[in-house]
Symmetry: C2
Subunit: 298 residues, 2 copies
DNA sequence: GTGCTCATGTAAGTAAAACTAACATAGACG
DNA sequence: CGTCTATGTTAGTTTTACTTACATGAGCAC
């Protein structure tokens, strides 16, 4: 088995788990019950577990199957929702903004009250979506994306460059914080999706090994850092507020440019011009404030 | 196109994006370059965008392709990592705990310092993983899972039942909070993966429509609620601390049992007995405190 | 207990997808 | 200009996903 079961097997499984019936799942998916039965068997063989318990002339989810179905349904549900969104249309006076969840939480959301204060008649919707098609097809009004720009058919304005820094809790290691890059990489690292290659190259040290905690949720990473469980390499824009509040400290002054600057991107169309102009004007002022707040620390 | 491209196409695309070469990707994947070329073409046709810009006798990523590759790599990387973890072995004095990210952030992590205080020699690693195979194969020491129990071959202990409540910021709607269930569902809802069916049934109101913000990241949901962007239906265990601090308020006193209680689950093996006993004993005390703190509000 | 209905399972055949092999085109370089 | 090599295309082959037909057994009414 490759590292992911075939999609037909996963979709069959989710449908049977939800409907509790191979026959009903087959009807829903417009295939024969035999196809579903074989996909379920294939998936169970691949996973090496019993997803269902056969009882009488039906079947019920095993506990393994239940939780697997929970995960599968969420994953497939996200895809289904993304498809639905492709057909949706933004409503008047609603500003639909597409952002990365971590940026949304740490940078944009804390600043949104100031947008509301200035523009009380707008309602902002945040979509955790990076799909450029959402923008192209006019499903969202504005996106905040990382990248190199150059998106054809879309208006865009560069917001700010980001960088990677290593952060820790002030209480980390009993307050005896790593002072050198070598001490940083020799201690407990909370590894994330960010590669340490650039930072270590700039620091002149070897990359840390694969030991230690690996977390793929950046909000959990930051909480773990706060709790002193280790140090992490993270984007400045996400940790800046916590650094200012003293909740986190930066280790060494090594900062590595992050390859993808932040951009405002939006489709140009008549019906959205006002809210796009209002939102972009506002966010640019916020960015100016943010960059100004970086300057004394630079 | 179904709502998800075929896996062979996605894997081919990710490899080419990373290696910048169809020939190299084909070598890595042990297929012919022709297979890769056709999968790239198939994916571009399905998506309706150019993932690569053909230059000379090579190709480079378009901006669309770049960001798509970013997402694909993360997704495939998680799968790769999960496979790698299947082969990993926990280290001595490291307690590997598998949790749902939202539970980890809001329930477990804030309490972890007390575990460290009692057991300073342990190092806790949090794995955002729900795979029962991790437990069965001994990759993690303890899991905190939701479910009905009954996992064969694993020791388990029921921790607590959860419930769904509707929460809002105290400042929501200028402080004029919804008082009835009907007012709740008539106002702005931040929709999540949690279904409103049970709550509305208990409240005797119709489910809210599909209007409004949909967020699939529960930490972002809670921040959006804090900012007064809407109300959300969420598990009590996640919002309890914020309710106690007064950062959030519960709307109506309707509480709906959540179908999946929280359990400690662990594989029984000699080498982990001490740390499993220590961790489970500690977490049970924390649960007792948590449940006691619920009692006055009940 | 019998007979009927119906739900899932299995085997073989058919259609579609994924791949290989061969050929084509054009860029890069000496 | 000639050679090498990278991607693209076409046709054939292999594998996967589905259909069709048959099998088994549970559930239910009489």
């Amino acid at each position: 088995m490759s590292t992911l079961p075939p999609l037909p097997a996963l979709r069959s499984f989710e449908a049977v788990a939800r409907l509790g019936s191979i026959t009903l799942a087959a009807a829903e998916m417009h295939v024969t019950h035999s196809a579903i039965s074989q996909q379920i068997k294939l998936l169970e063989d691949l996973l090496g577990i019993a997803l269902f318990i056969r009882e009488g002339r039906g079947l019920r989810l095993s506990e393994d199957g239940r939780l697997y179905a929970l995960q599968i349904r969420i994953g497939l549900g996200e895809i289904t929702e993304a498809t639905r969104l492709v057909r949706a249309r933004p409503r008047v006076d609603e500003v639909v903004v597409a952002v990365l969840p971590s940026f949304g939480l740490h940078w944009l959301l804390p600043r949104l009250p100031r947008f509301y204060a200035r523009h009380p008649h707008y309602r902002v919707s945040l979509r955790a979506s990076l799909d450029i098609q959402d923008l192209r097809q006019g499903l969202v009004d504005i996106g905040v994306r990382m990248g190199q720009g150059g998106w054809e058919g879309l208006a865009q304005k560069r917001l700010f460059d980001d960088e990677l820094v290593v952060v820790a809790s002030p209480a980390f290691n009993g307050g005896r914080l790593p002072q050198t890059a070598q001490e940083v990489v020799s201690g407990p690292i909370i590894r994330t999706v960010e590669s340490w290659l650039g930072w270590c190259s700039a620091a002149g040290v070897e990359e840390p090994g694969n030991a230690g905690l690996w977390i793929n949720d950046s909000n959990l990473v930051m909480e773990a850092v706060r709790l002193g469980m280790g140090v992490a390499l993270e984007r400045r824009s996400l940790v800046h507020a916590a650094l200012q509040r003293g909740e986190l400290v930066q280790l060494t002054d090594i900062r590595v440019p992050y390859a993808y600057p932040h951009w405002l991107v939006w489709p140009q169309r008549e019906s959205s011009q006002t809210k796009q102009r209002d939102f972009t004007a506002w966010i640019e002022e916020e960015v100016a404030l943010y960059l100004a707040s970086l300057a004394p620390a630079a």
